[in-house]
Amino acid sequence: MAETVLETYGLTMRFGGVVASDNVDFKLHARELRCLIGPNGAGKSTFFKCVTGLQTPTEGEVYMRGVETTHWMPHQIASLGIGIKTQTPNVMDSLSVFENIWLAARRFFNSREANRKTQDIIERLALGAIARNDLGQLAHGERQRVELGLVAVGDPWLVFLDEPAAGMSAEDVERMTGIIHELNKTTAIIVVEHDMQFIRSIAKMVTVFHQGKILMEDHVDRVMSDPTVRNVYLGKNA
């Protein structure tokens, strides 16, 4: 069995009377690729935010590679070697692609090494032609790709991606799939996603959230054919 990189025990998040995340136990192994799916409000984004430190959970514990990170700030969690991409593109608009990625690289390497790493990522993600352009000038798909570059440049061992394929063209999604697979060779990845097509193309294991709880956790094919999951998604159950 591979090393465990992320564990949560009884993770609970309440907003007033609403339980957005309810007693979630979760485990992820090194170099695993896991998709979190579920209808809107199922609690996958809350789970994502609690684990990455963007929100502090009401109860429960989070461990990363055995270190408890429950009440940590996002920058402390990221410093462990964890890449985080939020739902909306979160980049420095008036800086160039190179500068954006360089800033991410500089956190983990010295200045010279960061230059090299940045060049490397720019080549790998085929961003060379736009490397000197400001992010504000780029198309949505390109911005998403740059953000993936920011996440990847620090050689993370765990990556969180919140809806990486949202609002992208088919071509861009295909390219994104390739990048995620390549990243997955060296790091564990958690993808929060709606797009079933995209999930099918990247995932093996899928965790289904429903009403703040984990509904089931299984191989993508079995999850897709499961009647309960179908009901949850199509709302026939209600």
Partner: protein, 345 residues
Amino acid sequence: MQGSLSKDAIIVIIVTAILIWIMPFIISTYTLTVLIIYGMLGLSLGLIWGFGGILCFGQAAFFGLGAYTYAIAAINFGESTIPMVLAVLVPAVFAALLGAMMFYGRLTDVYLGVITLVVTLILFKFINSTAGPQYVIGNARLGGFNGIPGFQTLNIPGRPDDYIWGDSYFYVCAILLAVVFFLVSALLRSSFGRIAVGIRENETRMSLMGYDVRARKTVLFAAGAAIAGLAGALFANWGEIVTPSLFSLGQSAEIIIWCIVGGLGTRLGPIIGAAGLAYLKFLLGQQMLIDNTLITGLILVLFVLFLPKGIVPAISNMWKVSFGRRQLGRIHQQRRIRHRGRANG
């Protein structure tokens, strides 16, 4: 940010030398000295606001604190070297404490503005109320609204009787401004400076990359305060008296106006804005027809409405459009339109 640091240094030295030589033919060195000091004060806010995104409504507090620290220390020491150092350190430490309180409390934007404004007011009110003889630090009486006169002014280090004044004081200030300008350039070229710009652009992103935004903003804030403190000490030496008006909101407002008019996100803009507007004010002060404050206010409103990016970026854009290659010009224009669109959206 192209080119190298050594090139920066050479340009700074040449430009400074030329200006020191030419400017005294146009304006008296006494007036020039205070313009230089204001330039340094403008640069201090330009650094934290233009490159760090921290809008401080109370930069005057650090300026005043530097001036008062110098005056009080100079009376007590009877020599100027240690007081000069203290005048830089005290505001920096004060800003570090204040900044830590604000940034670790995750205060942003408006709230930051309120707190810095309030702290300035507290200092102003406090200093104003210290007229009584019980308010003494060492041998120095704080003097309330009358301020502190008659302290030891700048002398050659170790020789308290050799005062630096008049033209020599002008040279000292000019060279100090050049040094500070160079240090700011070096800071902005360093990783720290580039990370600060990243934080200005997107705090959340930078913290998700693993940077401790709170600590970095605190350090930058303190660096800005240190420069303002130095400017304050120089001002104290120039005026030979310090008064509570150094802390006033009007003073803070002026610093912000200098930065806006000169141009944010540039190193030169705040300096030019400060010196230019201060000189304009000096000229206006010699006529009685139109009130001075009215014009200052009008300038600020007009700039916010019509030239929100300031003079220096506008000129450098114009330069690029007319003298750069055509292609480049068009890209820049597009970018400008895009910026404008986003700002309005």
